[in-house]
């Protein structure tokens, strides 16, 4: 259904959308790959409302975009990378309140 198990999709810097949980519908960036099922992501919190947390990959869907960050990057450098890829605007929308 989703390509997340494909090798090399869910890696550091990958832009994803959370599709489950209270922050469903929001963008986030993978900061660290913990194991086959879990990654650490951050929004960062003040950008897209997703705090730095461990997330099951099934709750994420990867997007084509990627940003240049190194493993375990702090929110400041993630925000900087997002600004360079001018994704900041896109990250701030999408709180999943829309009608279906």
């Amino acid at each position: 259904m989703r390509g997340e198990c494909a090798v090399g999709v869910m890696e550091i810097g990958r832009v994803c959308v959370k599709i489950a949980g209270r922050d469903a519908g929001r963008r986030c960036v993978v900061v660290r790959v913990l194991d086959e099922k879990f990654v650490e992501v951050t929004g960062p919190k003040d950008v897209s409302g997703v705090r730095r947390r461990k997330v099951n990959v099934r709750h994420l869907v990867p997007l084509p975009q990627k940003v240049e960050i190194d493993e375990g990057a702090d929110d400041e450098s993630v925000r900087e990378a997002l600004r360079e890829a001018n994704l900041l605007e896109e990250f701030s929308k999408g709180t999943g309140r829309g009608k279906i």
Partner: protein, 92 residues
Amino acid sequence: MARKEDPGRGRRLKKRAIRVRTPGGRVVVQYRHKVHSKARCALCGRPLTGTPTGPKFKMRKLAKSERRPNRPFGGYLCSRCARKVHLAAALS
């Protein structure tokens, strides 16, 4: 103040009437509260989880976070349908 006799009240109450045998051997009619139906998912129609149902006076006592899940579409779509919707929105 005398309550106006409500013609339909007998029929309404009859549905909620329960015959109870008291310790004293008498048979007494007691009226249970109406049974409220479960909330249903707007897409798949399955009963929603995390969504208690009950008469108004009970629901009013619950905090908002106790009445529905704290998730976009919480209390409106089931978690599976909500996931599908977010997935479709993300990929579009």
